[in-house]
Amino acid sequence: MRTKGVFLAGVAILAAATMTTAVPNGGTVSGKVTYEGTPAKQKPIDMSKEPSCAKQHATPLTTETVVTGPNNALENVVVYISAGAPDDSTPPSQPAKFTQKGCQYLPHVLAFEVNQALEIANEDQTSHNIHPLPKTNREWNKSQPPGTPPLSEKYDKPEFIPVKCNIHPWMHGNFAVLKNSHYAVTQGEGSFTLPNLPPGKYTIIAWHESYGDQTQEVTISGNETKTVNFVFKAKPY
């Protein structure tokens, strides 16, 4: 009897060890992130102190702390699996790309993995000094004159990191450093898809820079698609 128990335990461990982070033809979690209420007004950005950037925007850019889409869609929400999937032991070989263009950070929210290469480019005629503000990772800021090659950095701990430019106070962005590849950042319609999930119980978190995060649990048993929606409460101030 004990031998059988040991044998079964051995099989379970072997099965777990062979389980990869993502499986083709696995299950999918998808859904939409929306808001209810009135979000804070986004203000136009006056870039007159930096004429080379100001002239790139015929209509001034607005702040991007709450970006909305049609039908109350909420953009720039990072939806990711925080529990239930193993951490990636090696990060993707492709670098995550962040650029400074027209005195704006693109994309506004960049999601990538722990120890994944982060490449920061300056496409502007002016110098920037990028300053991410982590609380657990190492804090640094780097000057980047125009025409210099992209900077390369990486973070070794998962964290949501606000990013600012020391020279241009209106520039603002976010890094989402995550533990595995199961993540998506919502865009226009507010929708997200997390595919290739092996069977299991998952904790999904939706994070927004102004509204914080929300958590939901979902169980995948085969290759079905489960719908998980998030609704954030928006406030005018």
Partner: protein, 267 residues
């Protein structure tokens, strides 16, 4: 050789003084009610320094001319009183010059820095922070809401740290990156330093004032010509000091009212 040196010295002295005396140096257009007084003071300073300079150089040239090619062994005469008299003379000359400049200039200085602004001056607050200037107008309630540094959120455009959620009087404050003012109206510019020392300088206004962290400073001025003028930071404040500037936009009263209304709608 000595006499040649004396001639060259005299020519250089005269050539240096010429552009000053004929006011060949160009000054930026004066758009301020106190600009004329400041410019006069500058001219007076140039004149006084110029006379002293010319006097000293010509005196030097005279001595070089007179006493060059002296034969070896000839007696050197000394001015009576020796060094003590020389030093005393220097003190008196330079002292008088400096005192004169001070006495003549104190009126211009007092007009700018020691007189209070008029009661109906338009109050605008400016904040200097690494590395941009932002400005705040009090809005319809005529009051500046309190500042909360912990609420500063530049990604949201909240550069001053207004607590919009809790301070109702903050909701009508108008925050801009441009200092627009109506022409011919006295402006009382309150100055708040967000982090380190900065300085407000508009050369056409003939005004410069440091922002000092922790001090409530202000300047007052009246602009007399419409147009766009540069505000530059003139106190080294960090790696972005070279990039720190804003624009003063002097508008007609009507245009200013329109501008302020537009900015209010963007808040």
């Amino acid at each position: 050789m000595g006499k040649f040196f004396a001639v060259v010295l005299t020519l250089i002295a005269l050539a240096s003084a010429y552009p000053i005396v004929t006011h060949m140096y160009v000054q930026p257009v004066d758009i301020s009610t106190h600009g004329h007084a400041i410019d006069e003071q500058l001219s007076d300073t140039m004149a006084e320094a110029g006379f002293a300079f010319l006097g000293a150089q010509l005196l030097l040239a005279f001595f070089v001319w007179r006493f060059s090619n002296r034969k070896n062994g000839s007696k050197v005469k000394h001015l009576p009183g020796g060094a003590k008299l020389m030093v005393a003379t220097a003190f008196i000359f330079v002292g008088t010059e400096v005192l004169a400049l001070g006495v003549l200039g104190q009126k211009a200085w007092a007009e700018v820095y020691f007189t209070a602004p008029k009661q109906d001056a338009l109050q605008i607050q400016s904040q200097a922070g690494q590395f941009a200037f932002y400005f705040r107008y009090p809005g319809a309630d005529g009051k500046f809401a309190p500042l909360h540094p912990d609420k500063i959120d530049e990604g949201n455009g909240n550069y001053f740290g207004l607590d919009l959620a809790n301070d109702v009087e903050a909701r009508d404050d108008i925050v801009t990156a441009e200092l627009a003012i109506p022409v011919n109206r006295e402006i009382h510019l309150l100055m708040h330093a967000k982090d380190v020392g900065h300085s407000f300088y508009v050369r056409e206004l003939r005004i410069q004032q440091d922002f000092v962290p922790g001090l409530d400073l202000s300047v007052h001025f009246t602009a007399t010509k419409t147009g766009k003028y540069e505000i530059v930071c003139t106190q080294l404040c960090g790696l972005g000091h070279y990039n720190m500037k804003a624009y003063l936009n002097v508008l007609s009263q009507d245009d200013f009212d329109k501008w302020l209304k537009e900015k209010a709608s963007e808040q």
